[in-house]
Amino acid sequence: MVVAGVRLKDFRNHADSHIEFGPGVTALLGDNGQGKTSVLEAVSFLSLTKSFYASADVQAVRMGTPGFEVDGNMINGGGSGSRVSVRYVRDAAEKRYEINGNRPEKLSAAVGQFPVVVLSPENSGVTGGGPGDRRKFIDLVLSQVSTTYLEVLLEYRRTVRQRNRLLLDSRLLGSIDQEKMQPWDESLAKLGGAITERRHVFLHEFREFVLDAYRSVAGGTETPDIHYVCSVFPADGGAQEISRVLTEQLVRRRTEEIRRGSTLVGPHRDDIGLLLNGIPVQQYASQGQHKTMLVALKVAEHRYLAEQRKEQPILLLDDVFSELDRRRCERILNLIAGLGQVIVTATDERVFQTSIEWNDYNRRYIVDRGTCTRVREA
């Protein structure tokens, strides 16, 4: 998959920018705050229907304008192209996502059609943050592999919200109506079992990719590991078995749930264990090791998606090199040079010096106050 070009109209600080990406590496160069990341965000909108930053769509609208437009041409490995456009109107708070002029029935059905892997400072939570950051990471990978997974996940989240409301109502009333609660318990256990099982299976497959990617980024000195940490079920199990345990736990923790007014059991409480030489990565102090692990996870994600989808994802790298020494930067650049289309932001173009040769395959753009200018190579 490659994005041949993208147009940003009234998007962040871009009034009207047009960029033609190369099939290899496209570097977006410039100082901070000039609009480099916005270009990556625009590609994210085309692929994931939203930004990879946790910000509301409306925040991407350029100040003083009624809405933004992002258009792009996505070309798959077989050479067939799709025109994708996203328009957002501030007043109506309406987002219109179209592929070749057609609106998919649901946005969830569009996610994964044009696979993309993003590495941005936003991802630092995967190794350094809480369980929510790590769940988000694997949920996004799985959503791009399976539309069914994404749909079950969205149904699960809605079920948790419905159930939480009942728990809050029960807390206010000081009593619980078991008959009203039962259907939500049953739905939660059933959907929760399916999600947990899928995540287990995924991490089994994904583990090999992580071990392999980590070796190529860091060399052979450290041994990483990754596994699923289920909050209620210690061993692997089938969906039905997990559902049964979830149901038991829901009954057992009923009083506590009412007191807290929220659902305390289910895959939204699970975690992913990331280890380095047998020690949880969160306990490592070194920024370099965190970043190495993160890059390895993303390279693994890229290779996993490529294998599953029979299509190389587009790789978006935002501000990756800032905390890394020269040697690791070079390793990463040599690694990503073989990963298909890569769009990367950087403040200092010297990091590319020894690894990338600029031509029509690998291109440079200068981004300055919302304007993108291609560097003409000699």
Partner: protein
């Protein structure tokens, strides 16, 4: 911007109450109506009031109707041993279009949704229970294939099964998260045929 006519301004603000209508569209509709002949507008206004005055709920199935009982409940041709439970009157329309189902309906008036303050008491559940008699052999639950429809199906299933009636649900051949109303006829027919006993 406000218009110089208070009457026009009022019509615009009434239109903005309609689902999916913003101020701009409301303005366009209001200006359109202003330009139509008077008798056409009177007919339209009367149609609006008639909807409120003439339509009521069927005392048997709770569907909207002008005569009570409704045409379906009153028809001698319908199979009175089957009751298909749906969320909204529009679902009855969708299922009738398939020409597949010959039984009776029961319109719940929605689905369980604590977030919207809808519990069993807000739905026509008591009315459904009151209809269970020796004559009824099967209840088919045909809720929308979403989270709320699923919870409603589970709830009704547990409520109805002890009453000795066969309870089934339509097969989930429908797109997940979709509405019954928007499913095509072939899909609905298949879903009805492939129903699963609870």
């Amino acid at each position: 911007m406000l218009h110089t006519s208070e009457a026009l301004e009022q019509l615009i603000s009434e239109f903005t109450r309609l689902p999916g209508i913003g101020r701009k569209t409301a303005q366009r509709l209001a200006l359109f109506i202003m330009k139509r002949p008077r008798d056409e507008v009177v007919t339209m206004a009367r149609a609006l009031v008639n909807v409120k005055d003439k339509i009521r709920a069927c005392s048997i199935c709770c569907n909207i109707t002008e005569q009570d009982p409704c045409a379906i409940c009153a028809s001698p041709k319908r199979d009175r041993s089957l009751i298909c439970v749906v969320e909204e009157p529009s679902d009855v329309l969708a299922l009738e279009k398939t020409n597949e189902f010959r039984g009776l309906y029961h319109v719940l008036g929605g689905a369980l949704s604590p977030l919207d303050g809808v519990g069993p008491d807000e739905l026509k559940v008591k009315e459904l229970l009151a209809r269970i008699s020796a004559e009824v052999t099967e209840i088919i639950l045909a809720m929308n294939p979403n989270v709320e429809g699923e919870a409603t199906t589970i709830y009704l299933g547990r409520l109805l099964k002890p009453l000795g009636v066969r309870v089934s649900r339509i097969a989930r051949g429908l797109p997940v998260g979709g509405d019954l109303e928007f499913a095509d006829e072939a899909t609905l027919s298949r879903a009805l045929e492939g129903r699963i006993t609870l």
